[in-house]
């Protein structure tokens, strides 16, 4: 029944998936945060309201978000080679994962920032806070629970993306599921990868929820 299972291969694939996840999540959060801040602060009526910048940022995000990830993987191949030196393996998977997830997270960041009480921003302006101080001292800390919740959602979306990245030879659990589970009809391998992915998702969600709960003082 479990004749095709090689624990070392499963462990290797799980490790690859976690590395891809960690690296792409880290980069996506940083880039998404910056992009989300631009989207929010340049929107009408906000601190740095700027119609043109807002329109360009919003359009860029929409373009990237409208591409199905599997297409993005292929479209990005030349750029991936430039950025990562290869389009294969764990390194080759990270650029498309980040380009796929960062705009997604940026929208979640924008939403989380919108939830911050306008009155609090106004009060900080009245105290003589500069725009930069308002962002660092008020906007981001007040939005933190929402930002963490958004990062959790992004992490879980990335678990799905890493599995798809297996299609273009990225390695990891998705790669294992496709090469062994699907192409060689090794149902047991398929089952184990699915269970591993499920466990990863559960752990991320649990950790994220706990963290949000701890951060939120509303």
């Amino acid at each position: 029944m479990m004749g095709n299972i090689d624990p070392r291969i499963i462990a290797q694939a799980t490790g690859d998936t976690l590395v891809m996840l960690g690296a792409s999540l880290g980069l996506s959060v940083v880039l998404g945060l910056l992009l989300g801040l631009v989207l929010f602060t340049t929107s009408p009526g906000q601190l740095l309201a700027h119609r043109a910048i807002n329109a360009v940022a919003s359009f860029g995000v929409n373009v990237l978000r409208s591409l199905p990830f599997i297409i993005l993987l292929i479209v990005m191949l030349p750029l991936t080679v430039v950025l990562a030196g290869t389009s294969l393996g764990v390194a080759g998977a990270i650029p498309p994962l980040v380009v796929g997830a960062a705009p997604f997270y940026a929208r979640l960041v924008e939403t989380a920032l919108r939830e911050v009480d306008r009155g609090v921003i106004e009060a900080t302006q009245a105290m003589g806070g500069s725009t930069w101080q308002i962002v660092i001292r008020v906007l981001l800390p007040e939005a933190l629970p929402g930002l963490v919740a958004g990062a959790t959602v992004t992490a879980i979306a990335l678990v799905g993306y890493t599995a798809m990245a297996g299609v273009v030879g990225a390695g990891g659990l998705g790669d294992l599921a496709i090469r062994f589970g699907y192409q060689r009809f090794q149902t047991d391998v398929m089952a184990v990868t699915v269970v591993m992915l499920l466990i990863i998702v559960q752990i991320f969600q649990w950790l994220g929820d706990r963290w949000v709960l701890q951060l939120s003082h509303r």
């Binding site: 009480d117 009155g119 609090v120 106004e122 009060a123 900080t124 302006q125 009245a126 105290m127 003589g128 806070g129 500069s130 101080q133 001292r137 008020v138 800390p141 007040e142 933190l144 629970p145 951060l215 939120s216 003082h217 509303r218």
Partner: protein, 339 residues
């Protein structure tokens, strides 16, 4: 009048011909229309009006949270609309502000909320710790230092708001409907506190409210706003005794408990100020003129600096006007009301 930037020493806030229009709908909506205002150093100045009268916009022009379309805003002799951003921020640090909904940071403790303006001003950690501890002690909040705003009552939240507003030792405190979200008892508590801060620190307070009672309780002077105009301004006792605008009269009437119309009577609002409030003027007038009267509603309380009584009275019979006349001669401000 061509005013220079150098102002009377006693004047700390001066608005000259300030106008502000919001761009919603055709032609926009006028929030402020050529408003002139002068607030003296160390006074408690009330701005009263209904919602939409422009008072919130008015208070926000004092620290330029709202930029006027026209006119000048002068704080302590300095015209601030033309200042560079960094200079304006320095002026704002000397102007504290508190709000109807407190506007505290949810994810900061009471201590950290009060520390925020000091952090923005770039003080050393040790100085911030000491100053926050001092403020919390002064406002009776020391026991709540580690709590988050969600764990506090409305009155406590507003005290935190006040502590935060005072952190940088401002000369001016702006209060935007600061007691409107509080119950009567807590309102009284906060007003007493503001009164104390005014006396102890010489703090100039500009207080926006829709409640005449708040004005009566602690303000020295008041401006009444209606549709973007200041329709009346002056000492509180003067405005309460001799309201000149119909809007002021309406606001004063609404501050009294409602009473039913009385058929065949002349209704009037009588205001007793100072020692008069304690003299048996009404009974003497009734005895001398033979007028019959009924008290429909009323209250006795205090203006900031004087005893104060306000009655809505129905005078009956042929002697009704003689009664009113006699009351006026006794120094009571009487104003006939529409039946």
């Amino acid at each position: 009048m061509t005013a220079t930037a150098v102002q009377d020493e006693q004047e700390i806030i001066r608005l000259e011909q300030v106008s502000r229009r919001f761009k919603d709908g055709a032609g926009g909506r006028v929030a402020l229309d050529t408003v002139d205002l002068s607030v003296g150093r160390g006074e408690i100045f009330g701005v009263v009006g209904r919602s939409g009268a422009g008072k919130s916009t008015l208070v926000r022009t004092i620290n330029l949270l709202e930029r006027p379309d026209a006119g000048r805003v002068i704080i302590a002799g300095q015209e601030i609309a033309s200042l560079a951003p960094a200079q304006l921020r320095a002026v704002r640090r000397r102007i504290g502000m508190i709000f109807q909904h407190f506007n505290l940071l949810h994810n900061r403790t009471v201590h950290a909320n009060v520390a925020l303006p000091l952090q923005l001003e770039g003080h050393a950690r040790a100085h911030i710790q000491a100053r926050v501890a001092e403020l919390l002690d002064q406002l009776g909040l020391s026991a709540h230092a580690a709590k988050y705003p969600a764990q506090l009552s409305g009155g406590q939240k507003q005290r935190v708001g006040i502590a935060r507003a005072l952190a940088c030792s401002p000369q001016i405190l702006l209060c935007d409907e600061a007691t409107s979200a509080l119950d009567p008892e807590t309102t009284e508590d906060i007003l007493t506190l503001l009164d104390r801060l005014n006396r102890e620190l010489g703090l100039t307070i500009v207080l926006i409210t829709h409640e005449m009672d708040v004005v009566r309780r602690i303000c020295d002077r008041v401006a009444v706003m209606d549709h973007g105009f200041v329709v009346e301004a002056g000492a509180v006792s003067e405005v309460f005794l001799h309201p000149r605008s119909s809007e002021t009269r309406a606001l004063l009437r609404e501050a009294l408990p409602p009473s039913d119309a009385v058929v065949g009577a002349v209704r009037a609002r009588a205001v007793f100020l100072g020692e008069d409030a304690f003299h048996p003027v009404l009974s003497r007038v009734a005895r001398e003129t033979g007028v019959d009267f009924a008290i429909l509603s009323g209250r006795v309380g205090r203006l900031r600096h004087a005893a104060y009584g306000e009655l809505e009275i129905a005078f009956f019979g042929a002697q009704a006007y003689a009664g009113i006349q006699a009351l006026r001669q006794a120094g009571v401000a009487v104003e006939e009301m529409a039946a």
